[in-house]
């Protein structure tokens, strides 16, 4: 996902891990920037990453879905679309780039990542 031209902010356990927190990483949660062009890029990226590309929702479905999930060879990828429609501006503001090998990844601030985690992971 880091290498694909999709605009997203990494949140969840993977974001916290990249921020130096000691948390087990079970999957990758990414908040997607709203917008038609980005959704098209997301669809292409998910299709390339998914083990079963036929299960990736079509672009017109991505406009309405709250979360789109793909099972990849790296594990489960959850694309938080509704969260992007609601909180993109705020999350983007607090986020910063972290290098994963030679690919820069936009990662939510630890405060934002913890806040989302507390809200949705009881």
């Amino acid at each position: 996902m880091a290498a694909e031209p999709v605009s997203f902010v990494l949140v969840g356990s993977a974001a916290l891990w990249l921020r130096g927190e000691q948390v087990p990483v079970g999957d990758a949660d990414v908040v997607i920037e709203p917008g038609e062009a980005n959704l098209r890029r997301l669809h292409e990226a998910m299709t390339a990453l998914a083990i079963r590309p036929e299960t990736v929702p079509a672009v017109h479905r991505l406009r309405d879905l709250t979360v789109a999930t793909a099972l990849t060879s790296y594990g489960r990828l959850d694309c938080l679309l509704e969260r992007g429609r609601r909180d993109w501006g705020q999350l983007r503001q607090g986020a910063g780039y972290v290098a994963v090998a030679d690919a820069p990844v936009l990662v939510a601030s630890a405060d934002d990542a913890w806040a989302l985690r507390r809200r949705f992971k009881k």
């Binding site: 880091a2 694909e4 079963r52 990849t72």
Partner: protein, 344 residues
């Protein structure tokens, strides 16, 4: 959950229905469709849901102690789904019959729930080795003050039936804490001659299997003993995908080196229920290095969240203390016999 067997309530309803139809071990099995229709009429259990549970109860790679014997296509571990319930049949397994007898109070309780766990249905309780659990209960019955550490040692680590390796904080699990276990397929570096011998051994008589490579000494990596809840077809697809070239590899060579797999070919050699495939390393690749990379592929290693309601020794002790006035030894022997009859 049935208190005297630890078997789930839906599972018990299915066992009751099979018993009512006289679908006993060695007897004529009942058509699954009829069982599901009756469960829907009597209990309001939707057929699709009940069928999933029924199938799980019969699958030998999911449960240490299968409660049902299935006949017909109950599906494979890959992408092949089970046949419609119109075409499948089921009957009680010997262990299923014992679970039912324990629930009815005809025999003393049996620890089937503790042995099977419920991680096969995304629960948090892992399975344990049947003989080890039975032995631990017997020891505690004989010596009620057996130290907790010894009980934990007797039961041993969680044991998943496919033979996958289990990693993680086993002490935390035994102490009743929530933790995460890694379930890892076996990834072995060997040579083409060894693979050819295994293929020939499993081949149908009269059928000549094709060779892996012309060079019998060429290093080959075998992947088998998959985690029980991973789909081998998906794992093969995952590995193939990681071996492909993508446009972004040129833009991010470091990331590409980190995530790509130098594989020439992946071959699915699954035969007669033995799920395994081979990876041929690309020329010039260190097979040991590739082995380590393969272990990081999702599916080759999966993580399951596990936890026990109480520390394991306390669970064993409570179980034995609760039922010590009954003839637990006899019911444990009956369960052992049922398991032995299945292995024959």
């Amino acid at each position: 959950m049935g208190q005297r067997s630890g078997v789930g309530l839906v599972e018990l309803a299915i066992l009751e229905n099979l018993d009512a139809r006289r679908a006993w071990p060695g007897w004529r099995p009942a058509r699954c469709l009829k069982v599901l229709a009756a469960l829907e009429d009597d209990l309001g259990l939707a057929r699709g849901y009940a069928y999933q549970v029924l199938i799980d109860m019969a699958l030998p790679w999911k449960l240490r102690v299968p409660l049902v014997e299935g006949q017909g296509n109950f599906g494979g571990r890959g992408n092949d789904p089970p046949a419609s319930p119109s075409y499948t049949e089921a009957r009680l397994s010997p262990a299923g019959q014992i679970a039912l007898a324990a629930e009815r109070g005809q025999i003393a309780p049996v620890p089937i729930g503790l042995i099977n766990g419920n991680t096969h249905r995304q629960g948090t309780r892992p399975p344990f080795r049947p003989a080890a659990v039975i032995d631990a209960i017997r020891q505690v019955l004989a010596r009620p003050r057996l130290p907790a550490g010894q009980i934990t040692d007797l039961v041993g680590p969680p044991d998943f039936i496919t033979g996958c390796a289990v990693t993680g904080d086993l002490a935390a699990l035994a102490a009743g804490q929530r933790t995460e276990l890694g379930l890892q397929a076996r990834v072995t570096v060997t040579d083409a001659a060894h693979v050819s011998a295994r293929v020939a051994k499993a081949a149908v008589p009269g059928h000549r299997p094709r060779g892996i490579t012309r060079d019998p000494g060429r290093p080959v990596i075998i992947v088998d003993n998959f985690p029980p809840y991973a789909n081998p077809d998906d794992i093969a697809m995952s590995i193939s995908k990681r071996g492909q070239e993508y446009a972004w590899h040129a833009r991010h060579p470091e990331l590409s080196a980190l995530t790509g797999l130098p594989i020439k070919e992946v071959m699915d050699l699954t035969s007669r229920g033995d799920y395994w495939f081979t990876c041929l390393p690309a020329n010039g690749t260190d097979p040991e290095l590739l082995r380590d990379q393969l272990l990081k592929v999702h599916g080759v290693t999966i993580y399951v969240s596990v936890g026990l309601p109480r520390p394991l020794p306390a669970m064993i002790r409570t179980w034995t203390r609760t039922y010590q006035h009954e003839d637990v030894q006899a019911s444990l022997s009956a369960l052992e016999n049922a398991l032995a009859s299945r292995q024959q």
